[in-house]
């Protein structure tokens, strides 16, 4: 057995996959990195020279944390470790796996030039850790077993695992479930998964979107109608309730249902019967109701836009599907999943993103969630010829996002990168993913002003304008080779991470913006349309807010997106009332 082996009394050869940990002279429990292979150091974003001689526990990184725990166990207990598989994220955020074996040696003699040996004794006890990169094989096995997928839902993050767990628990019950979550998070997939897990799985799953039809049509669609019930009702029609009998009815966007239909739905749920439009007989139906919304039903109940009794009848269980920005760990899994699906559809398997492109995607807030991710991946997939999709493939999309969703990018992270990493510019428009620092600088300049940006040189030549608005950018280009990035920074003042849009924060933003909705949206770090949606949901009147923040004299008209570009030349003017 492994533990019966004799201790290894030998000099450590410089194996390329071997990590050597030695204790310090003064604190023998603290393990220093004596030797580390360059490819392992790269996982924590360092070179061996940078971390050799440092305590392994003090080097930031998921893999070093795991290796420190392995080192401590082996050093203290003396029992070797074999085939221990560690899964972790590297410094670039990529999912990786390493198989580790470790053992203690009693008389290790450090190399004379070692930084760690300068602090240690001539010979000492040491831990040898052999590391093998198993990222590819683990990924392939996971793929083969479909791990990370649950009824079409993809994720391995804690919030998603909780969703899977709730589906498992709530699925077999017959109770109603409210599924909440932003648009594009996969609420219908959750509903389908609940149906698949229920005893009704062999019966119909019928979905209906409450926003898609007018009120009159919706009632007819939901409950059916008799022939001649209204003009054009040439024959009797089975409603969705009847079609879902013994199965599941999924009501999507239930927050948009009219109060009259809400009352009728409540009656149906309580009595278990329906009455067709124009009909005279009640019909018994056995349907499990699942409902989804991206609104806060509680707030809608509070402002009497949703019936409290219906809310309590429906919300026996609740599942919240997290937005993509709250589960960044799932991004690579989702990218891999969708690239595989898209690759199968277009007959180009094994297309992948470069780490740089992955990092770009991880910097985005994904307001459209998984649906938006899937669409952008399909777009760049079609537009790219090669097997590897680099960061430059996303340039046009980045420009569009920059313009359309001011709060879309993870500002804090970009700011951090901007301050931490020097801006090194790559060759303009090379289109190659060579791992240089040029793309770094492009990320830093994505739609944000701030220190340092105005010094940036153009990474690529002036691009063809995707929108009429872009034409106006040239008009503001300062003389002497201004860059598109710099002009962006003039047009879009530094955005903020979207604040929680409460009534109070919105009022405050309007007050700060002098009643200007566009400016208030910018201050809140959201698009104007998002702000209007929240105003509606919170029952706030735009007129009231504008009057609160409006200047007492010389009020300026609110600039619209279609207004003269020259209105945008100095955003600070608009910020001041």
């Amino acid at each position: 057995m492994a533990e019966q082996r004799e201790p290894t009394h030998q000099m450590v050869p410089t194996y390329s996959d071997l990590i050597v940990l030695v204790p310090t002279r003064d604190d023998s429990r603290l393990l220093l990195i004596e030797q580390i292979p360059p490819w392992v150091a790269k996982w924590v974003g360092k070179t061996p020279r940078e971390i050799e001689g440092e305590p392994i526990g003090g080097v930031a990184g998921e893999i070093t944390e795991a290796l420190a725990a392995v080192g401590d166990d082996v050093f203290n207990d003396g029992l070797p470790i074999e085939d221990y598989c560690i899964e972790f994220h590297d410094a670039m955020g990529n999912e990786r796996a390493a198989v580790v074996s470790a053992q203690r040696v009693e008389d290790y003699r450090p190399a004379p030039i070692s930084r760690a040996s300068a602090r240690g004794p001539e010979t000492c006890r040491a831990v040898l850790i052999r590391v093998q990169d198993a990222s590819d094989s683990v990924r392939q096995r996971r793929r083969a077993l479909g791990i990370g997928q649950f009824h079409g839902l993809v994720g391995r993050s804690r919030p998603m695992l909780e969703v899977f767990h709730k589906i498992e628990v709530y699925g077999p019950t017959d109770a109603s479930v409210i599924i909440t979550g932003e648009t594009g998070t996969g609420k219908e997939l959750v509903a389908r998964a609940l149906h698949e897990r229920s005893v009704r799985r062999d019966k119909p799953f019928v979905a209906v979107n409450c926003t898609a039809l007018s009120e009159e049509l919706f009632e007819s669609e939901l409950f059916g109608h008799e022939r001649g019930a209204f003009t054009g009702a040439l024959r009797s029609h089975k409603g969705r309730f009847e079609r879902a009998d013994k199965g599941t009815l999924f009501l999507d966007e239930i927050g948009d249902m009219s109060s009259r239909t809400q009352a009728k739905l409540l009656r149906t749920l309580e009595q278990g019967t329906i009455e067709r439009v124009g009909g005279e007989q009640e019909q018994r139906v056995d349907v499990r109701i699942l409902a989804a919304t991206n609104m806060s039903l509680e707030q809608m109940v509070a402002v009497r836009r949703f019936r409290a009794d219906l809310y309590h009848r429906l919300s026996v269980f609740r599942i919240h599907v997290p937005p993509l920005r709250e589960r960044p760990g799932d991004l690579s899994l989702l990218v891999e999943h969708y690239l595989r699906l898209i690759g199968e559809r277009y007959g180009r398997p094994d297309v992948r993103l470069t780490p740089d492109a992955m990092r770009l995607l991880s910097e985005y807030h994904w307001p459209g969630n998984v649906r938006e991710l899937r669409n952008v991946l399909e777009r760049v997939f079609v537009e790219t010829r090669g097997q590897v999709i680099g960061r430059n493939a996303f340039n046009e999309w980045v420009r569009e996002r920059d313009y359309l969703s001011a709060g879309g990018w993870n500002v804090e992270r970009l700011e951090l990168q901007r301050s931490a990493a020097p801006i090194i510019l790559g060759p303009a428009g090379s289109g190659e993913e060579t791992g240089g620092g040029g793309r770094e600088s492009r990320a830093s300049g994505m739609g944000f002003g701030g220190p340092g940006l105005s010094d940036a040189q153009p990474l690529y030549p002036t691009p063809p304008a995707p929108y009429p608005l872009a034409l106006s950018r040239e008009a503001f280009a300062p003389a002497g080779g201004a860059t598109i990035d710099a002009v962006y920074s003039v047009e879009h003042p530094p955005s903020r991470k979207p604040r929680d849009l409460t009534a109070e924060s919105i009022r405050q933003a309007f007050a700060e913006a002098g009643g200007n909705a566009t400016q208030a949206a910018r201050l809140l770090g959201v698009h104007k349309a998002t702000l209007y949606r929240h105003l509606k949901a919170l029952g706030l009147k735009r007129k009231d807010l504008e009057s609160v923040g409006a200047p007492t004299a010389d009020p300026r008209p609110e600039p619209s997106d279609e207004s003269d570009p020259s209105d945008r030349s100095d955003p600070s003017d608009r910020a001041e009332p």
């Binding site: 057995m1 998921e62 392995v70 166990d73 029992l79 470790i81 598989c85 560690i86 580790v100």
Partner: protein
């Protein structure tokens, strides 16, 4: 989900052995029999088998970052942690060293 393991660790009077495995690992298949071995040596053992990827955060709290790994608790406290693939003799030695086979 990890709460259930934690509850068991604190409620069971004897020894609780938590075996963290991963279905994708060959090593995990070989570890199946280990629980039976422990029962041969001690009768008051409660064995829990859990998928590592579902209990990452919980495992990290006990300085476990991978699988397979076996954690032995007694009276709610972690008494032994054996990482990687191991055999009967290795496990017995580890249990003895930790004083977990004493009556």
């Amino acid at each position: 989900m990890s709460d259930e393991i934690e509850r068991l660790i604190h409620s069971h009077r004897g020894m609780v052995v938590v075996q963290l495995t991963e279905p994708i690992l060959d090593a995990a298949q070989e570890m199946d029999w280990v629980a039976t071995e422990i029962r041969e040596w001690r009768s008051d053992v409660q064995v829990v088998r859990a998928e590592f990827s579902l209990h990452r955060d919980w495992a990290r709290h006990y300085r476990v970052h991978g699988s397979p790994c076996t954690l032995v608790f007694r009276e709610g406290e972690l008494r032994l942690r054996v990482k990687g693939r191991f055999g009967r003799a290795h496990l017995r030695a580890a249990l003895e060293r930790a004083g977990l086979l004493d009556p």
